[in-house]
Amino acid sequence: MAAAEGSGAGGSLFPGLADVSISQDIPVEGEITVPVGSHSPDEDYSTLDEPVKDTIMRDLKAVGKKFVHVMYPRKSSALLRDWDLWGPLVLCVSLALMLQGGSADSKDDGGPQFAEVFVIIWFGAVVITLNSKLLGGTISFFQSLCVLGYCVMPLTVAMLVCRLVLLAGAGTVSFIIRLIVVGAMFAWSTLASTAFLADSQPPNRKALVVYPIFLFYFVISWMILTFTPQ
């Protein structure tokens, strides 16, 4: 039995050197323990047993850490290493909600519908990701989506500020304030996402990757700037 297990383990570890001297039907079964990473089953059990609050707090901390990374874009790989799409989802939903103008009158929509904003953001992010992969980028699909989604945060802040400014009135002054705020946040978003994404490209093609990101955030900024509540 031990010999069979031993030969089975040897056969799985070195497929090219399978033990060819076995001539009878010995079924090979048993546990094959791989020495690396043997603690992961224990970890799974421990995270299953922990209270829900711990799980939620851990995820919230991870999301919060990424927001901080976006606010101060340094060249760190934490945003890329453990990607998650919670942040982008929350940002996208809040931006779409704020951009919804809303009356039911057919001529007077007031703004893009929720679904339009949602589709534009995600479709745009997918296109940019595909583009950067096709240009030879080393970043994975979801990592890129994660970065682009998190970098929508400055524009969400800009939308909030615009709404507050519009509460005060809609004149030339408010337009200039909104223009400056949205412009600054647009530049911030583009720079933040460039800092993360351009590193994964070959050095002479950075401009090719930055341009679609610029267009993407430009379209979102334009939607924010020209929003007026009804």
Binding site: G11, P15, G16, A18, V20, S21, I22, S23, Q24, D25, I26, V28, G101, K107, D108, D109, G110, G111, P112, Q113, E116, V117, I120, V127, L130, N131, K133, L134, L135, G136, A170, G171, T172, F175, N204, R205, A207, L208, Y211, P212, L215, F218, V219, W222, M223, T226, F227, T228, P229, Q230
Partner: protein, 339 residues
Amino acid sequence: MAAAGGGRSGAPAAEWGGFEDNMQGGGSAVIDMENMDDTSGSSFEDMGEMHQRMKEEEEEEAEGEAGAGEEEEDGEFLGMKGLRGQLGRQVADQMWQVGKRQASRAFSLYANIDILRPYFDVEPVQVRARLLESMIPVKMINFPQKIAGELYGPLMLVFTLVAILLHGMKTSDTIIREGTLMGTAIGTCFGYWLGVSSFMYFLAYLCNAQITMVQMLSLLGYGLFGHCITLFVTYNIHFHSLFYIFWLVVGGLSTLRMVAVLVSRTVGHTQRLILCGTLAALHMLFLLYLHFAYHKVVEGILDTLEGPNVPPFQRVARDIPAVSNAVLNTTAKAIALTL
């Protein structure tokens, strides 16, 4: 027995090694553009067929470890037919895993993204050069002109056109129906690029022109550069006469370039006339459409309603056509009076 077994276990390993080499060599992501230029892209279709065939072969072999050997032209597996026992099962199991891995890799990579990868293999310098070239008509139409089958530039130009259209809609109309206008803009631009390219490719096929689909997409895409420039300028400066000048000059230049390249790749006067007439008409009319479709929206909507929260820059945009009309009217009257 050991030697025979070693031979048999060595042969599948060599077969796997050969398969690896085949995938590596045939699946190389960067393909020289020179080779691609005058073919119809059939090398990709062959590669896809080859991979599909290999994938099917792998799956067949893995399933029928004992009995399917006779169906393959590969003679090495004929020996498996009679082989019962541990070695057979082990080897078949490993083959199945390798085959599954290869097949899933082939599907996820080569069927999806890497087929498009050669079309995006450009440098920024090349893109800039091609953008500028798209406005310069070629003089030599007796020799087939080279078209780079590249998709990055055209795709970015289509997206830029969408953004410019959006900008134009905002400055002319905007706050109303913003969402559906976005969908309209994207649909219009992509529909034009893909639809007219397909239509021209079909006509080129009928007229025996030497052009592939990717080249047609690329040519038409770069031709949109003139449209982008024209619309960007005329959406900000709202003079009709300025638009007509831009339409003729800029639109005309990019159309001439496309027409010249097509003419150089076609033989026969009637065919050349059909192709070039169609392309010129469609291209110029599209620019006209893009300009006027969104001006009418201005005049129509702003006549009927005006909300209290209209941002100031919209008022400026609205007044300019009225100002220009007023100016034209007064000058016309002044000229009539003096005559």
